[in-house]
Amino acid sequence: MTPHDPATAARRQAISVSVATGLYGVSFGALSVAAGLTVPQTMALSLLMFSGGSQFAFIGVVGGGGALGAAVASAALLGARNGLYGAQLTPLLDLPWRWRLPAAHLTIDESTAVATAQPTRAVARTGFWWTGVGVFVLWNVFTLLGALAGDRLGDPRTYGLDAAAGAAFLALVWPRLAGRTAQGVAAAAVVVALGTTPLLPAGVPVLLAAVVAVVVGLVTTGSAPTGPASTGPASTGRATDGASR
């Protein structure tokens, strides 16, 4: 193996993305407990849902006193892009059927970004599995640490953890705001969410904002980025979606 061996480079990239993404599992764990979930419930989200944006959305709606149905819907809608990632990865990785379920579970922003950045199918597979497994292990380890720490903290407001939740969502959406359409949808979503908060049950204003996006997406033309946000962790070390977890 030379230093320029693409498989070695893919593994290195996978490890650095895994560490950067795994670390902010701490914030998810702490925020989840602050939102009122138990440590086992927090771990169940990281192990079973394993998609950062969906997980943060679920605890955000539950913590805000929203209906459980709205929490489920928000999490599922934010997971929709993972389905599109799968469609990109299937021809790229060309996996046997028995590997498709584990591959699907590990299909998130980060593993897709690393896999699609590789020069050959063999190296793409290396990048996908190393990133997927690496993020999965570290995300869960750090979720547990954050949840255990959050459990001992007491009132989350004293530590500004309620403000951390908004910051976490801002960091998740940040790399996706390139382009006028995305910025316009983001602004409209804020207006709709805040404008309907006094009128509708908690959790519903967020879902209503998604309706705006569907309408805009259907009536506008031109192509939106289909891959993970291009300024994602693979290039900057910034997490796009733990969100995808």
Binding site: M49, G60, V72, G86, H105, G166, T236, R238
Partner: protein, 104 residues
Amino acid sequence: MTALWGALLLAGLACLVIKLAGHVLPEHWLAQPRVARVAALVTVALLSALVAVQTATSGSQVVVDARLPALAVAAVALVLRAPFVVVVVLAAATAAGLRLLGMP
């Protein structure tokens, strides 16, 4: 508590089914540009709405408190390309500090 567990497991299952759909459905179903565009914008809308609700609402009221300046600090950190953990910690520290000074 049981209801929360049920919702949690249902949401986890839904997310896995969506991921699996991408790996087993014929590609062309999901390869339409319109599908990709709507999915990308839905993600932006949901995350943006969550930023607003988490920062500026309390129950059914729109409020301004220490979370708003904390979000501004987070935005500055993002402009400076700070890593996720740093962004979140800076926001938390800002809100905690402002509350020590008496801001709600």
